[in-house]
């Protein structure tokens, strides 16, 4: 049941509980309780809106920053990650395998704001060895959703 609810909510967070219960062939109260439990257990961590900011007048810049660090004794990667992810402009932080350690996704109001963050906040951190900043030029798909495609039903209206 949990997996079924999650699979549906992941794409349609705003669905009415009553409708969701019908779709999953379950009791509405059971669905509501299961969701509440998963919220408490931090399995469901939030309900966000997927926005294509490029279509608005709001200026936003997204950057992907590769960060190499030296984990320190007694501190490990987690503590360094925490120092990075606590900044509100940091959108996501992942620990990576391969050539660098953290992938940091940053959202700033301008390139200058991003540059400032890297040079004044991230770069000077004691454990940070180096950074490489890549700016996002265009978002095609985000969170499993294609942002650039127009969705139009091209089927003939009535067919046998």
């Amino acid at each position: 049941m949990r997996e079924k609810i999650l699979a549906y909510l992941e794409k349609h967070a705003r669905i009415d509980l009553h409708d969701l219960a019908i779709l999953l062939d379950a009791d509405e109260a059971v669905v509501a309780n299961t969701i509440a439990d998963m919220e408490k257990e931090n399995i469901i961590c939030g309900y966000h809106t997927l926005i294509n900011w490029d279509m608005t007048s709001e200026e936003k810049v997204t950057a992907l920053i590769e960060v190499k660090v030296t984990p320190q004794r007694g501190m490990g990667f987690d503590a360094i990650a925490e120092r990075i992810y606590n900044y509100p402009e940091v959108h996501a932080v992942y620990l990576m395998s391969g050539a660098f350690d953290f992938a940091v996704i940053l959202e700033g109001k301008s390139m200058r704001a991003v540059a400032q963050f890297v040079s004044e906040r991230l770069g000077p951190m004691e454990s940070v060895l180096s950074t490489a900043t890549h700016f996002v030029l265009k978002k095609y798909k985000d969170h499993g959703t294609v942002l650039v495609r127009k969705t139009k039903d091209e089927r003939i209206l009535v067919t046998p």
Binding site: Y8, H12, I15, D19, I22, L23, L24, D25, D153, R155, I156, L157, V158, T159, P160
Partner: protein, 417 residues
Amino acid sequence: MRNMLSRKVTDIEPSGIRKFFDIVSEMPDAISLGVGEPDFDTPWHIREEGIYSLEKGRTFYTSNSGLMELRQEICNYLQRRVGVSYNAAKETLVTVGGSEAIDIALRALLEPGEEVLIPQPSYVSYLPCTVLADGVPVVIELQEKNQFRLTREELLDAITPKTKVLVLPFPNNPTGAVMEKADLEAIADVIIEKDLFVLSDEIYSELSYHGDHCSIASLPGMKERTLLINGFSKSYAMTGWRLGYAAGPDWLIEQMTKIHQYAIMCAPTNSQYAAVEALRNGDEEVAEMREAYNQRRRYLLKRFEEMGMPCFEPHGAFYCFPNIQRFGMSSDEFATRLLKEEKVAVVPGTAFGDCGEGFLRISYAYSLDSLKEALNRMERFVKRLDEAKNASAGAVDVEISGKEMDAGKADAGKAEA
């Protein structure tokens, strides 16, 4: 110029759906629940295989029967999903959609005057294809009380010495009915005893919501008297690729291949390459689409129940077939008014045979949001019909009591006199 046309063709009625399509296409803002094809795009890895085949220059004919690679995959699939084994080289034929297989099978099977049993409501092409093949269509009207399954008694009643072929269209378009194993077993011995041949159109086989699909070809003694027709349109959302297949006895496939060879040459090459990919790596997407359809099916049934529209529970395809008899209107009238008043297009049940009267075909190959909006409109429409009915019933009551009052007055007058 003298009449150049064939009587056989001019006598055939155009599809009943056509008329409705003409009305709907003049209403650009109508929501349609009238589409008989999936709303999903063909899964990307399948499309990419089609593109890749073009890039590699595979733009030539394949062998008449289809790519051997594809026919082998079809056999693997049929073994895996319905438990029947076929010989790829002798017992399969790749066709231009399931429709072509229906047409050429009937042409290969029928002698003039031989009868074909066609359970209705069902897909629109069995009847005209029978006529074009000089056969005589004999309609079996399926009953809602039997959940639109074909029963042993109905079959026995329809058989005459001229009966040769039984069309078995399950899971069914437009009713969504399925024949489960027990239902098929109940008719199989009749088919064997009366020496009939079955054209089993299983194009919706992957869209079964109540346990796995059962093919009549898998029953003892039935493989040799069944042509199994299936394709990629519904299960893999590949309608526009026009690709289907037939699997059956070598003596029939051989003759069908001749017709196919002269009329068609071969099915589209790049569709065939895409289909190989679909059969090899498409099971997961098929399961996902089936789950999505099943969710919508439940949603529709619940909404029909809430608006007081009786509908038997369909176990297959992507259609509901609600009963509208209580509104005292023909299917055509109901559908036309629903379209004009609420701009929702559905298909009258009569498009699939006269016995579809009193029913509507409603497709749920749409997003939940579209379904919700369409059903809200439909609910409004049904509510208005019910209110009008109640109001007129009330008016009749008043009229009667008025008459009674007059009669009372008259009596009173008489008494006074």
